[in-house]
Symmetry: D3
């Protein structure tokens, strides 16, 4: 069995990119191994902390007054697999939102949209000893660099949403591992 | 650039599990490299051809009078990654169906449901030199071993659906590879 | 967390090499994922079932009237790592025996000896989707092709020994994974 | 299909080792994915920028008044494979030169010689997210730390040579990938 | 240090494809580990033994009255790397031939030509536990399915050529491994 | 063949963590490739140099007046395998000590104990291009942060012990590689 540990952190934390670092979860929350933590806080990532070079080139900083954040670390080192995992995580987030909002959202790559309004930011990267995912969904949608929507626009509470997303992602990862183990080769 | 070649095969082919084999696409359709082909035909997989041992143990044969089939082969050998890829493929299939049907479907692991009616079968496995995916969506829903729904129940044409699914999957794979190449490490 | 599931099988099984096969544990005991099972039975491996080519070349069949057997399957595909794992397993077996017998044994590669008497057989190999370990320790030592000793020569019961070995191996694997996750790169 | 993108950069650039860095091509020339760029400029690599520790130990700096440079980045992380790729690149360079010069050159590891005169420098290394190759062939051969020959000694133009080398390397990589995909396992 | 063991086998052996199998070298010549053996004999590969599916599709059997053969096995499992290795081996063969013949030959992928005359056949493939290379150069050039040239056309002796090629390949592999170990990461 | 080169360094060196770095062996002792060196000296590792985050979190510095140290570097990049290797190294150290001391010691993970007295420190980690092991056994046992025993408590000489441990580890690695190469897949 391979199990992703999950935890909702009640402390408010500003996501500034420093959280997307190897062992940040272990150092701060004493969870060792594959894990995902969720927390609430602003997002304010200076360009020097950004790892998506396309955003750096287009000088697109990340800023939001309040977001629900997810940080995950997996102790394998295949960056392409990490991006598949991130995409699937965004799908789970999308499905949880659609169920609550009652309308279909759009996924473009690793971003979720409600029409023209951007709901999320996300990135997956690799450290020398692990792979890392950040995903954030706006809670507030004011004063963002692009047109956005946030959870308060849909009158959604962050904590139960976070719990469901993390729980479904944990189940998905376990189910993928089980599928890998129960299939015969050809 | 890494590109998944896609092709709709007009010839009717019965999916009996033999198609889930290394180089089946290259041998039959002369497409060399990562590829996905789609075709229409019955599904009738004897237990001895089934690779999902859970289904073998529960003696759950695969049978459908008519399905839209997708076979993909990727020339890497990470089975866990292949399953992530398969799940994402099922998500794309789900989104294409939802858009057409106008109602939300349910994904449970690698299966799509409309309530209690099962729409699809799917498996991902590995050969010594590649990984392989099969996914099939019912066209007809009669005489299946479990309660199913099929494309004719929704009055959907198979060919345009296949084309859109394959095209979006191709785009998704390209976009994942681009994301892998444009991100800095931590 | 990565956990190796372990189980003692009460049914008597003759080890003839067919047990060293992908999914043998899952097919027979419904344990899915990394696992080790233990059982008691004769060992009688015909040359055609032997995977150690050095033994095949020297025409050294495996035969024992009664052994305590361990079969493990890990769902990764690095054969060299599997052999490190097997060696460590033999060390754990050695330490459990020494504690009970009260004298030092000798390990030569993946074999345990009490002076000139051979106690064990073992092999690690790879399938296309997993790696596999077999280890057996003689219970009876009569009629073996080479000079051996067995558990009855030391008046040791097989079941509690098996339980302790499996439990320590499970703990070792968990501890190795934890060590891998808690260390910083350089 | 896997395609190496290639581009000749008309701007003069001094190679000082800083170009052998992950995403240097993407950041500067907006080419994302496996790629090779060629440019002309001096080479002046201080010891602190050198990655070949044998050269560092022997205090052998790299200096040339003018070279034709090639920088390649591949988004996989197997350093040994990167060196195979680099060697094959040097072979292609050698064949292009021999055809033009009309005499046989000598390859010693990753260096090309015309008798005692050294024509090239080259290195392959790994970043956490990619592998990197630099190769440079002297255009001028004066004032170099060791006895060298350069393209002007053979009255060869750099640009058409660069284009042919890059084009053949691109074709070689494509052909290797095709060979990998069209062969059955044993 | 990683060393490829090499050996010239004096016994005449017909290459029929069965030699391109895991452990064929170890089973027959007791060389364990990465190795290359050379031998002389006809080549007669029935289509069912051919692993290059492009040749199978075009029904291009391999036949030569007499060839100098090389079989190599490497105990790693990256098929793409095996093909890089094979290409470099063909380059070494080409350089040894050119030096003796005194004229430039042509390499197209993994084939060597003297103008329109084909000198060689070669393939690289993977087994579940290793990668394998076969390369053969014609000694006789009569009665071949396509226009060929052979060593006797150039009045070249096979044994010293084989020894030099194997020795240079061994040195190349050692030098590549050394290059991999002495370079710093970026 | 894959061979781990070993060397006893006669110069006294204080282990402060800086030795656990890629190419430290090559830079200082000109040994290129997989290698293990042994030396004698104090251990004094400031928290900032420690890579075991569990020790960093518990503020457990490493200090010993005199130790026998082992530093190993392997040019592969699988951190989990490196920890298996480290564990096996500690087992070899334990067996060498037990033979000399004439009593059984205890191994807990990667630490050796004589009852409550800790004999060793050890860590395995990864660099971007290699994996690294440090292990140290106390020579003196005074003034250590926890209760320890050292070689002088057992009247054991460090140099012959180091030579035997390094020699057995070298033989173990060679034997593991041979086992990997001589076994058939399943």
């Amino acid at each position: 069995m391979k199990i992703v540990q999950t935890k909702f952190i009640r402390k408010r934390i500003t996501y500034n990119g420093a959280q997307l670092a190897p062992h940040w979860i272990y150092k701060n929350f004493d969870i060792c191994g594959d894990a995902m933590v969720c927390f609430i806080g602003p997002a304010d990532v200076p360009l020097k902390n950004m790892v998506d070079l396309e955003d750096v080139k287009s000088q697109s900083p990340i800023y939001s007054e309040l977001m629900l954040h997810f940080i995950a670390e997996f102790f394998d080192v295949d960056l392409e697999k990490a991006i598949y995992r991130q995409r699937l995580f965004m799908v789970i987030m999308k499905e949880c939102l659609e169920k609550r909002i009652g309308k279909r959202l759009q996924r473009r790559g690793d971003d979720l949209y409600d029409g023209k309004r951007k709901l999320t930011v996300s990135i997956a990267t690799a450290s020398p000893i692990s792979t890392l995912i950040h995903a954030g969904i706006n809670i507030k949608s004011k004063n963002t660099p692009v047109l956005t929507a946030g959870l308060i626009d849909y009158q959604l509470a962050a904590k139960p949403l976070a719990d469901e997303i993390a729980s479904l992602f944990k189940r998905e990862c376990a189910s993928i591992w089980k599928a890998r183990c129960k299939v015969q080769g050809r």
